[in-house]
């Protein structure tokens, strides 16, 4: 176990280092002046650019510059956004919670709907529940997310008027931002506006969550189904059936736990895709998160913002991956004995 932990953590450090090196190299790869890309200050006077050149050690060789870069990252100085002039770190602190909130709720929805459906599909293999779930999953898997979002908006917002189509909450509700997680903030303030704000926030969350959850749900269904089918063919299941356990006991006590293990690892691997889809969802629903901000930044060629966003998002994905892997290892006795971290 210790050796496993050691390997995992060294892998983590290796990935973080590569990530920061890659981000650092972007300063040189992006078009435009290196100093502007590093700092986010444009048109600085000669005196100012001298001060900045000192700060970013532009005179020294690459390794020293990279070291200075790492130091700044840890300090929290991630440069200034070219389009707004505000520190990039502040933007990210403000916007990232919104994205995380959306992703977490979508993941929860995906788990609640996906895993039971996968189990049902496996249990009723080759019968009509399996076929129905399979077809629905295949269609959900194939639909482009932006088209799905547009369809849902057309039907539920414009057609039926049930849900709003943009933002996190009706703009006339003033909620003090503490944690920047809107539901948490509303609860922390004791349900102001007589609970209407909470219901409004939920309504705003509904469609983006459904859209974002579509892909992970289908992936989870397929994966759970495959994993479950695999487990159901194992010898110990046949033994248990021969022993005389009824269906429910068989599935709940024996099959499920073993089938879910690879699923947990798979959830971790989904984070990267989830964030990609979250970025598109945020743009369509004007969700004020880090994804929409990044896409705006590329339109405006705001390179410091892109670098900062890259760091924040990738670090998040790396840690989410690691966490999922750790959970998998902790729960799975077999992989604890494996010395090599294998994907």
């Amino acid at each position: 176990m210790r050796e496993y932990l050691f390997r995992r953590i060294s892998l983590l450090l290796f990935m973080l280092l590569t990530l920061t090196a890659f981000t650092f190299s972007l300063n040189y790869l992006f078009p435009g002046d290196v100093l502007t890309n590093l700092s986010g200050q444009v048109n600085s006077s000669y005196a100012q650019s001298q001060v900045l050149a000192d700060k970013y050690q532009l005179e020294e060789n690459i390794i020293v510059q990279y070291g200075a870069f790492l130091g700044r990252i840890v300090d929290g100085d991630w440069g200034y956004s070219l389009s707004s002039g505000q520190p990039v770190f502040e933007h990210i602190l403000l916007l990232f919670p919104a994205t995380i909130e959306l992703c977490v709720y979508a993941l929860v929805v995906a788990i609640i709907f996906g895993i039971p459906s996968g189990v049902i599909a496996a249990v009723f293999h080759k019968r009509w529940p399996d076929r129905v779930i399979n077809s629905l999953t295949l269609m959900g898997f194939s639909i482009p997310i932006f088209w799905l979002a547009l369809l849902l908006i057309m039907v539920f917002c414009l057609g039926l008027g049930l849900f709003p189509m943009s933002g996190r909450i009706g703009l006339l509700y003033e909620i003090e931002p503490y944690s920047h997680f809107i539901l948490v903030d509303i609860i922390a303030q004791g349900f102001p506006y007589g609970g209407l704000a909470f219901i409004d926030a939920l309504k705003h969350l509904a469609l983006p969550t459904i859209v974002l959850a579509m892909y992970p749900t289908t992936v989870l269904i397929r994966f759970t189904r495959d994993s479950m089918l695999n487990v159901l063919e194992q010898n110990y299941i046949k033994t248990a059936r021969a022993k005389g356990l009824n269906r429910r006991q068989l599935i709940l006590h024996h099959a499920l736990r073993n089938a879910l293990l690879p699923v947990i690892k798979q959830i971790g691997l989904q984070f990267s895709t989830l964030l990609t889809l979250a970025m598109i969802t945020e743009v369509i629903f004007s969700w004020p998160g880090v994804g929409r901000w990044l896409i705006e930044s590329i339109y405006q060629r705001d390179y410091p913002a892109i670098q900062g966003g890259l760091l924040a998002v990738s670090v998040f994905v790396i840690f989410a991956n690691m966490f999922a892997e750790f959970s998998h290892t902790v729960l799975n006795p077999i992989s604890r004995n494996q010395a090599h971290g294998k994907i």
Binding site: S83, G161, M165, S166, G170, Y193, G194, P288, Q300
Partner: protein, 535 residues
């Protein structure tokens, strides 16, 4: 069993929620306005961008005088009365008493508005010794391009409520310029406090004014929130909250109207008007407006410094087709630079017509038989004078191909776009101008004069001393007929030289929920939500 438990839990939770109290009585709680761009500042003195002015000028501030949209006469605002000396060089304003500045969580005024505030507000614009002159790049685009720094000799505080402007020479548009949305009165007390705390830049980002609403919050790309000014001097304000929902995408603004997430939307795109008009709960307002949409060439860049090339380009595009496809019939094709509604309008006989053969001839004469490459910069936002610059650019692009000119379309976020046009990065640009006052000089000096070029406000980068002379002569006299003659010559010169090609004049549209009243459209200037109320 478990369902029962869950149900009890839910009902208990609901019980914890307070009874919905009068806090959110929909009718007078707040108004949501769908805005098309972020405001680049909160001080109207430092910008002329219409999308910013709409959000801030009439909402947060007041001016000394204003112009009645129907009679074109000057009306008292913060100045109760005024007098002009016989030679026109001294103008005295008698200020209203008892006007309060905003009480906010970042500033509490200790006194009411006096002459000190008026003097400070204008002194900042041109007095290089004013501590605030260089705050925020020292750009006062409107005032600099109409040359106010060469005009005002000094501003004198006569007593607590009387201010005198002493000018170097009389100018017939001076009072009109003081009535624009840019000539607002700011608080000297606030300025002093910020200067003492070394936070002068906050003056333009966290504003204090005398207007019907006061600043509460700004979240970039998201919203601007105002609360009502309880001590507004003019009349009680009906809305307790005013929120601008910043939505750059045209279609989203329309959608938000349809889902009732916005009460009012600015500049609904021409193609969507039919959809909005069909709805019984939405009113679409239409008003005549003094504006011009044009295609300007960067006349300092080759080959656009050659007037033959400009003529060729002007004759190669079918603007009637553009009128139909972009304006959907809600515009007038330009017959001169000024709109017909302006009193100085003079129809031009030699407006460029669609004639590709003639265009080719001009190109050959200029020496560009094989054609050339150029960029067309298209605005990303919908404006009154151009509802869809992108589409217009695509249509022009395909017309230009026929005479051998390859055009590339360039787009940026709106405020970045304006900045880069100011730096003259473009070959040509589709832009326009909405009048701030009915005075025809407002179409010329802030845009096409040499001072406009020097203050980066001239999209054609054009400086013609003869043209400027015409403008100066028109400003030196107050006789309408004389001014008309000068402006007729100026318009003819524009069509002859073609630093820009006037395309069309648009109608001003606004879509609002049926319950919203008091938001009438004016033919010039930015919108005012001071009288907005919900039935």
């Amino acid at each position: 069993m478990r369902i029962l438990l869950l149900g009890t839990l839910c009902t208990l939770l609901l019980g914890c929620i307070d009874e919905p109290n009068a806090k959110l009585n929909e009718n007078n709680q707040g108004l949501v306005y769908c805005a098309e761009a972020n405001p680049m500042t909160f001080n109207p003195q430092v910008t002329t961008t219409g999308s910013t002015i709409d959000l801030i000028a009439n909402q947060l501030y007041d001016r000394l005088i204003s112009i009645d949209p129907d009679t074109a006469e000057f009306k008292p605002e913060l100045a109760e009365a005024w007098g002009v000396s016989d030679d026109g060089t001294t103008i005295t304003f008698y200020l209203r008493k008892g006007v309060q500045f905003h009480h906010t969580d970042y500033f509490t005024p200790s006194r009411k508005m006096t002459a000190d505030d008026v003097v400070f507000s204008f002194d900042r614009l041109f007095n290089v010794y004013n501590p605030y002159h260089f705050v925020g790049d020292a750009t006062y685009p409107y005032f600099q391009s109409v040359g106010v720094d060469q005009l005002i000799q000094e501003i004198v505080k006569v007593d607590e409520h009387t201010v005198q402007f002493k000018l170097f020479n009389a100018e017939s548009s001076f009072l009109s310029n003081l009535a624009t949305d840019f000539a607002v009165i700011t608080s000297k007390e606030y300025a002093d406090i910020l200067a003492a705390a070394e936070k002068k830049s906050q003056f333009d980002t966290k504003p204090i004014g005398t207007g019907p609403y006061k600043y509460k919050q700004y979240l970039r790309d998201n919203l601007v929130r105002y609360h009502k000014n309880e001590s507004y001097w003019k009349h009680p304000v009906a809305m307790s909250q005013l929120v601008f929902d910043i939505t750059t995408n045209n279609t989203s603004r329309i959608a938000k109207m349809l889902t009732k997430e916005c009460d009012i939307t600015a500049h609904p795109s021409a193609s969507q008007l039919a959809v909005l008009s069909k709805r019984a709960d939405i009113t679409v307002d239409k008003a005549e407006n003094l504006n011009i949409g044009y295609w300007a060439f960067n006349t300092e860049k080759e080959p656009f410094d050659n007037s033959l090339v400009r003529k060729a380009l002007a004759h190669s595009v079918d603007f009637n087709k553009i009128l139909q496809a972009v304006f959907y019939g809600n515009g007038q094709i330009a017959k001169s630079y000024l709109p017909p509604a302006s009193w100085a309008f003079a129809e031009q006989e030699s407006m460029p017509t669609y004639n590709p053969t003639l265009a080719r001839k001009y190109l050959d004469m200029a020496g560009y038989e094989e054609g050339f490459e150029m960029t067309i910069w298209a605005m990303p936002v919908s404006r009154i004078y151009n509802p869809n610059a992108r589409k217009m650019a695509e249509l022009i692009q395909s017309d230009l191909k026929q005479i051998g000119v390859t055009a590339k379309i360039v787009e940026y976020e709106w405020n970045t776009f304006i900045e880069r046009i100011g730096k003259h990065e473009h070959d040509s640009v589709l832009l326009g101008w909405v009048a701030d006052t009915p005075d025809p000089d407002n179409f010329f000096s802030p845009l096409l004069s040499c001072t406009a070029t020097f203050s980066d406000k001239n999209p054609a980068n054009w400086c013609n001393p003869e043209f400027d002379l015409l403008l100066t002569k028109a400003l030196d006299t107050t006789d309408i007929e004389e001014r008309k003659a000068f402006y007729a010559q100026a318009q003819a010169m524009i069509i002859d030289q073609l630093p820009l090609v006037p395309i069309a004049h648009g109608m001003r549209f606004q879509a609002s929920s049926k319950e919203v009243k008091g938001i009438d459209l004016k033919p010039f200037g930015g919108i005012s939500l001071a009288n907005a109320r919900k039935q």
